[in-house]
């Protein structure tokens, strides 16, 4: 006689949803691994509830550290997510079709980063329910306004850019309306790529601008080009330099975990090369900017570089940011032999990504840590577990979305031919 659970495998069998010509792990294995992101999300859930219900006193932020780990993570993921707009920019607008195999992944990662960032920003403000005032009563002079508008609109663009991949799912694609719809989307994707490029350029910049305009914070302030401080351009450059690296990094990690080849090494090398050149340009500008700031601007305010770097935020940060995580990856990424080696390429890209993250950390935390008033004391800051919980959102929902997408959506067009035995 049949027992009730004999049919379960049949129901659980989702192979008909897998991308064409690919194989995926068994459902129960997949479900097991889903536990990881879900646990993280639960941790986030608890933290977020506490913060929203009891208020920001659940964090270790204070009137001196107005911003904390959340803003650092926001800035970092948005910078790393820049791979999305820049790759699609190269792919659709410049017509570098060699990037086609990785553009979907780039968009997906971008989508993850931005949605995560927006969610966190919503929790970061003291009156989330009034958050929309920022749009309704917008102050055109504020860099933050620019950021809010661009990030939200770009997130929408990303959804649209992601839609084709969703519709191309084997089952969904069967619905004729959807099929035609996704085809049309593909044809007009260039428009969204353009829109995305435009928006991203501005909010990546505005994020830098946010700090560059703080003329009462000598550590962060930078001279202006037109209405934009130098940091505006530096942030754009560092973002597009790190974005592609991050995308490729994620792809490589996925390859290691799934034990499959998802994109050809050629594509990765190309991404690395692009990163490398962009990073070079950025590092040149950044170095010049730093020198000008240290030896011309600061003295004019009666300050010295020494005062700007106090423990625990000592001068080692400069060497780390500009040296180890700055010029070193430039050299590595621009050396063909490094790019050819899977491992070294991975390392170089990792350094690159750490570099940009470190840069965002320094601009957020250290700008605030330094007392400006002559008789103020220097204080440091450590996040609470609630803050880490909220910050871990990006990781949690990132993993979740990426796992589902990888399992069901044709993110990697090259996968079938690269993996047929």
């Amino acid at each position: 006689m049949r027992r009730w659970f004999d049919d379960l495998p049949k129901y659980a069998d989702d192979s008909s949803w897998w991308p064409k010509g690919t194989t995926r792990c068994r459902p129960e294995v997949f479900l097991f691994w889903l536990g990881l992101p879900l646990t993280i999300m639960a941790y986030f859930g608890v933290s977020a509830f506490l913060v929203l219900f009891k208020g920001l006193n659940q964090t270790n932020m204070n009137d001196y550290f107005a911003f904390g780990v959340w803003i650092v993570v926001d800035l970092a993921v948005i910078a790393l997510g820049a791979g999305a707009f820049f790759t699609s920019f190269l792919n659709y607008i410049i017509g570098k079709t060699e990037l086609k195999p990785i553009v979907n992944a780039a968009v997906l990662i971008g989508f993850i980063c931005y949605t995560g960032a927006i969610l966190m920003l919503g929790i970061d403000i003291g009156q989330p329910i009034r958050g929309w005032f920022g749009f309704w009563h917008a102050n055109v002079h504020s860099m933050l306004t620019e950021v809010m508008f661009c990030i939200t609109t770009y997130a929408i663009v990303l959804c649209i850019e992601l839609l084709p991949s969703v519709l191309d799912n084997r089952r969904i694609g069967k619905v004729p309306e959807f099929g035609t719809f996704s085809h049309n989307l593909h044809t007009i994707m260039i428009v969204f790529a353009a829109a995305g490029t435009f928006l991203s350029f501005f909010h990546q910049g505005s994020l830098g601008g946010m700090f560059g305009v703080l003329y009462a914070r000598p550590f962060a302030f930078r001279g202006h080009l037109g209405i934009w401080p130098m940091t505006f351009f530096l942030f754009v450059m560092s973002a597009i330099a790190a974005g592609p690296s991050f995308t490729t990094l994620i792809v490589m990690i996925t390859e290691k975990i799934t034990a499959k080849r998802l994109t050809s090494h050629k594509v990765k090398m190309l991404m690395g090369k692009i990163s490398g050149w962009l990073l070079l340009v950025y590092m040149v500008c950044k170095s010049v900017d730093t020198l000008y700031w240290a030896f011309i601007y600061l003295p004019s305010k009666g300050l010295s570089v020494g005062q700007m770097y106090q423990m625990p935020y000592g001068s080692w940060l400069v060497w780390a940011e500009l040296g180890l995580f700055g010029w070193l990856p430039v050299v590595m990424l621009l050396t063909p032999r490094v790019r050819e080696s899977y491992g070294l390429l991975f390392l170089a890209m990792l350094l690159n990504c750490i570099g940009v993250t470190l840069n965002r950390f320094i601009f957020t935390i250290q700008s605030l840590a330094l007392p400006v008033m002559p008789f103020e004391k220097f204080i440091s800051y450590l996040p609470t577990w609630q803050e880490w919980g909220v910050a871990s959102l990006v990781l949690g929902h990132g993993l979740l979305i990426f796992m589902l997408a990888y399992r069901y959506l044709p993110i990697f067009p090259q996968e079938p031919e690269l993996n047929q035995r």
């Binding site: 208020g55 403000i125 009563h137 002079h141 003329y215 914070r217 009666g302 002559p374």
Partner: protein, 279 residues
């Protein structure tokens, strides 16, 4: 510095007269319904619109000496004076562009610069609590409500109806006791006449037992502050940053003056010392 026929309220604080008793700070809090948390020793979360900083000359015994810096909101004007990136900063003749560090960054116009008074406002009910203004202010004059204020039973009876108590999650700061100007104006409307120098004085100015604080219109020759800011002993905090504050300080003590601006006002300090400052 300050345009004629343009009202610019400002303050002069005589550091040599200040005895650090804190009457100004307390009067300010009772005027503006500031709350008290269970732990107020957590200074980086303690809301004191007018904070009295204590500084000392760092000399060994028996030459040690302390002085006090009462620090309200500076109601910065921004503008060109000494500000970096000239291109970006407009003349203070255009109110919209008066580049107050905090006002220019607020995404929701919860704080604005009133060209009719030169006062920087803060509207808690508009504030979304992003704290960007807190980050922008070099004087730490802006305070975020990290907690709901736990008013002890009965104490709300002692609150003033002229300043609205704040809720958790918003930023607040010194407003030069704006509610007093509102009431002074009302009186003028009904009783006729104008708002004179003495009709609008801040709570701290009134309270100070040694008369160290003077308040009035900086550009109005009839007002005391106008004369005081001409003195070679007058100076401002972090003048070099170009925030162009409306709160001035006075002291005959060179080390105090130098302390105020990262030791930049050397020239000014020595000059003043030459003309008979004490010590």
């Amino acid at each position: 510095m300050w345009r004629k026929n343009q009202v610019r309220y400002g303050m002069v604080i005589d550091v040599d007269k200040c005895t650090g008793c804190g009457a100004c700070a307390v009067a300010c809090m009772s005027e503006n319904n500031v709350g008290v948390l269970p732990d107020e020793t957590d200074k980086i979360r303690s809301i004191t619109w007018l904070r009295v900083y204590q500084i000392d000359n760092g000399k060994p015994f028996p030459d040690t000496e302390v002085a006090f810096f009462p620090r309200p909101c500076m109601h910065c004007q921004g503008g060109t004076s000494g500000a970096p990136g000239q291109a970006f900063f407009q003349e203070d003749t255009d109110p919209q562009e008066a580049h107050t560090p905090c006002v220019s960054v607020c995404p929701a116009i919860a704080t604005d610069y009133d060209d009719a008074t030169g006062i920087v406002s803060q509207i808690p009910t508009r504030c979304i609590g992003c704290r960007y203004c807190v980050a922008a202010c070099p004087y730490h004059a802006r305070y975020f409500n990290w907690y709901d204020v736990p008013w002890p039973q009965g104490t709300p009876r002692g609150l003033s109806p002229f300043v609205s108590p704040r809720m958790r999650g918003v930023v607040e700061k010194c407003t030069f006791c704006y509610a007093r100007l509102q009431r002074a104006k009302n009186k003028a409307f009904v009783g006729g006449g104008k708002v004179g120098e003495m009709d609008y004085q801040t709570a701290c100015t009134e309270a100070c037992p040694s008369g160290a604080i003077t308040f009035g219109q900086l550009q109005n020759p009839a007002h005391k502050v106008h004369k005081l800011i001409q003195s070679e002993f007058a100076f401002r905090l972090l003048e070099k940053l170009g925030t162009n504050p409306k709160v001035y300080y006075m002291s005959k003590r060179k080390w105090v003056r130098m302390m105020a601006d990262n030791h930049l006002s050397q020239a000014k300090a020595t000059q003043a010392a030459a003309s008979g400052g004490h010590k």
